[in-house]
C-alpha cells in the first residue's frame, strides 16, 4: 500500500476512494494521511468517516460528493467545521445527487461529454452548481439534466479477490467500483485475497475490473474496517458510533490520528491493534453461492 500510494497519488490529484457503504478502503485513506499528501480533490458519492479523517488530517482542499454523513449515526464533524466555520480552513464543495455522481463516473468511463438523467427539475441544486445543466431531447419537448464527466486522476478500489494481474472480482454491493475504475487515469486495486488466475477465469461474469486498467494491486486484508467486505467481515458499527464522539472534538480527533494512523507504520499494525477478539466478533458464518457450469468447449 505504501508503495502504491507513494507512486500513484500525487499532491493536487483528484482522488476517488469509492465503495458504497461496502468495500471502502480505509487503509488507503490512512496511508494517504501518513504520507501527508496535500491539496487533493476528494471525490466520492458518500464522504463518510474515511473522508472525515482525511479532511481532518489536511490532505484535501475540495470535496465532490452527493451525500455526506456518518451513515446510520449522524454528521461528519471535521467536515462540518470546515464548511460551517472554515475551521481550520475552508473546504470547497461541488455537489450532485447520487444518480448524478454515478452518471459522472459513467460519462468519464465512456468518454461521453455529458450524462443525461431525469433529476434536478425544480431543485435548487443546479442553482448552486452551474455544472448541472438542463438540456432538450431531440425527439420532443422533454428536457433532462446533464452532468459532466468525472475522470479522477486516481481511483482506489477495494475488492474481495484479485489475480496478480489485477483482474478483480466483487460480490455483494457493487457501488460504483467498476465505473470509477474505468473512468480514472490510474487505478489501485486493493484486495482481501490474491487468487490464482484460474479462480478468476472460472467465473468471468464475476470480474468487475480487468487488470488491463489497473496500475497497482495491493493485498491488504481487512483494509475496509470499520466498513465491511461481504463474506469476509461485518461493518463495525461500534466504531461509527465512537467516531461521532471523537470527531466532535478536534483535539480528540488529532489524538486519534496520532494513535491509529501516524504512529502506525502500516495497516497490519492497525489490524493487530484492534485485536483478534474484535475481528472474531466481526466474522460472519459462511453462506456460499451455488456454482454454475460454464462448460468446456474444445
Amino acid at each position: 500500500m505504501s508503495a502504491a500510494v507513494a507512486d500513484l497519488v500525487r499532491d493536487g490529484d483528484v482522488v476517488a476512494i469509492e465503495g458504497f457503504t461496502h468495500l471502502i478502503c480505509f487503509a488507503a485513506g490512512h496511508e494517504i494521511i501518513r504520507q501527508r499528501k496535500r491539496d487533493l480533490t476528494l471525490a466520492r458519492l458518500t464522504p463518510d468517516v474515511v473522508y472525515d479523517q482525511m479532511i481532518a488530517a489536511g490532505v484535501c482542499k475540495k470535496l465532490v460528493f452527493s451525500w455526506m454523513g456518518n451513515p446510520g449515526v449522524g454528521s461528519l464533524h471535521a467536515i462540518r467545521r470546515r464548511v460551517e466555520r472554515a475551521d481550520p480552513a475552508p473546504l470547497e464543495l461541488e455537489e450532485y445527487s447520487h444518480f448524478g455522481m454515478v452518471g459522472r463516473y459513467m460519462a468519464g468511463a465512456s468518454k461521453l461529454p455529458f450524462w443525461p438523467l431525469r433529476s434536478y427539475y425544480e431543485s435548487d441544486l443546479p442553482t448552486v452548481n452551474p455544472r448541472i445543466i438542463e438540456i432538450s431531447s431531440p425527439y420532443g419537448d422533454e428536457t433532462v439534466y446533464a452532468v459532466p464527466p468525472l475522470n479522477p486522476d486516481v481511483a482506489i478500489v477495494h475488492v474481495q479477490r484479485a489475480s496478480s494481474g489485477g483482474d478483480a472480482q466483487v460480490w455483494g454491493l457493487l457501488g460504483c467500483q467498476k465505473e470509477v475504475a474505468f473512468a480514472a487515469d490510474r487505478v489501485v486495486v486493493v484486495c482481501e485475497e490474491l487468487v490464482d488466475d484460474a479462480v478468476v477465469r472460472s467465473d468471468p461474469n464475476r470480474t468487475v475490473i480487468p487488470g488491463l486498467i489497473v496500475d497497482a494491486v495491493v493485498v491488504e486484508p481487512r483494509a475496509c474496517h470499520p466498513s465491511y467486505a461481504q463474506g469476509y467481515y461485518d461493518r463495525d458499527n461500534r466504531f461509527y458510533v465512537e467516531w461521532d464522539k471523537i470527531a466532535r472534538d478536534s483535539a480528540r480527533l488529532s489524538e486519534w490520528l496520532d494513535d491509529w494512523v501516524y504512529s502506525l507504520s502500516s495497516h497490519q499494525d492497525y489490524v493487530a491493534k484492534l485485536g483478534e477478539e474484535r475481528w472474531a466478533q466481526l466474522t460472519p458464518t459462511e453462506r456460499w453461492s451455488q456454482p454454475v457450469n460454464y462448460g468446456r468447449y474444445d
Binding site: 452527493s66 451513515p71 446510520g72 462540518r80 464548511v83 447520487h98 454515478v102 438523467l117 455483494g172 454491493l173
Partner: protein, 252 residues
C-alpha cells in the same frame, strides 16, 4: 405492554399506509422499520429496494446502514447503482419511496442540504443523496419526519427534493408526496392546491398541539380522525424483532 412512543406511533402509521403496495424504496432508520413491519402485517408481498443496489432484500437483522451486508445475503437481486437508479427508479418500477428532511414546507418540498445560506451555512446537512431523483421519479412519496416549528417551516432554506412546488407538479413526474407522518399526526395533500392537510391526530395529540408545531396556518381536513393506537402485535414485532435495542423507536 408499555404504551407507544410518538416515534413508534409514527412508524406504525406509516407501515399501515403500505397496505396494497408492491415495491418500496427504503431509507434507513424509521422507514426501514416501517417497511419491515408492513411486510409482517399489512403488506406481506412488499418488495424492498435499497439504493445501494438491492432488490428483494430479506434482512435477518435490523440493517444499521443503507448498505448493510444483511441486505445482500439472501436477496433476490443485487445490481449496480446505475441499474438501480436507471431501471428501477427512473424506469418507474418504484411504487412508494420514503423520504425525510430537516425542513418541509406546506407543499411537501424538502430540504436536506443546508440550514441558512448555501455558501455559508449555519448547519451543513447531508445533501441530496438519492432524494432529488427519488422525489421526482417514484410513483409516490411517503414523508416521515419529526414535527416542530423548526421542521415545518413557512419557507425552506434550500429545495433539495421537489414536492408539489407551489401547488402543482408536472404530469410526467411521479405523483410526489402523498402522505406525511410525524410524531403528532398525519397529513395528505389537497389535489387542487397541493397543500398539506391534516387528516389524523395521533392519540393524545390536540389540534392546538399540531398548530403549535407548524410555522404556517395549518389546513385541517373536514374529518380529522384519531390514529388508531399501535396494536399489541405491531408493538411486539417492532420491539422484539425489528429494533430490539430500541435504537430508532425509543431513542435507545
Amino acid at each position: 405492554m408499555e404504551g407507544a412512543t410518538p416515534t413508534e406511533t409514527m412508524i406504525v402509521a406509516s407501515a399501515r399506509h403500505l397496505a396494497g403496495e408492491r415495491v418500496c424504496f427504503v431509507g434507513i432508520g424509521p422507514p426501514n422499520i416501517a417497511c419491515n413491519l408492513a411486510r409482517r402485517t399489512v403488506a406481506p408481498d412488499l418488495e424492498l429496494v435499497y439504493e445501494a443496489g438491492v432488490f428483494g432484500a430479506v434482512p435477518e437483522r435490523l440493517p444499521l446502514s443503507i448498505g448493510d451486508p444483511s441486505l445482500v445475503t439472501g436477496a433476490t437481486s443485487v445490481c449496480s447503482m446505475f441499474e438501480l437508479f436507471a431501471y428501477y427508479l427512473q424506469g418507474g418500477l418504484v411504487d412508494v419511496a420514503f423520504l425525510s428532511g430537516s425542513q418541509i414546507d406546506r407543499f411537501g418540498n424538502l430540504n436536506t442540504t443546508v440550514i441558512g445560506d448555501y455558501s455559508s451555512p449555519k448547519v451543513r446537512l447531508p445533501g441530496s443523496g438519492g432524494a432529488c431523483e427519488i422525489a421526482i421519479n417514484a410513483h409516490k412519496v411517503f414523508v416521515i419526519m419529526p414535527q416542530s416549528t423548526r421542521t415545518f417551516v413557512e419557507k425552506i432554506d434550500f429545495r433539495t427534493s421537489p414536492g408539489h412546488l407551489t401547488g402543482k407538479r408536472p404530469a410526467h413526474w411521479g405523483a410526489g408526496p402523498s402522505v406525511v407522518v410525524t410524531g403528532l399526526g398525519m397529513y395528505e395533500f389537497d389535489d387542487d392546491s397541493g397543500e398539506m392537510c391534516l387528516t389524523n391526530l395521533h392519540p393524545g395529540v390536540s389540534l392546538d398541539d399540531v398548530q403549535q408545531a407548524t410555522s404556517w396556518e395549518l389546513r385541517v381536513g373536514d374529518h380529522v380522525s384519531e390514529t388508531p393506537a399501535p396494536t399489541e402485535q405491531e408493538l411486539r414485532v417492532m420491539r422484539e424483532q425489528l429494533d430490539p435495542q430500541g435504537i430508532y423507536t425509543r431513542g435507545g
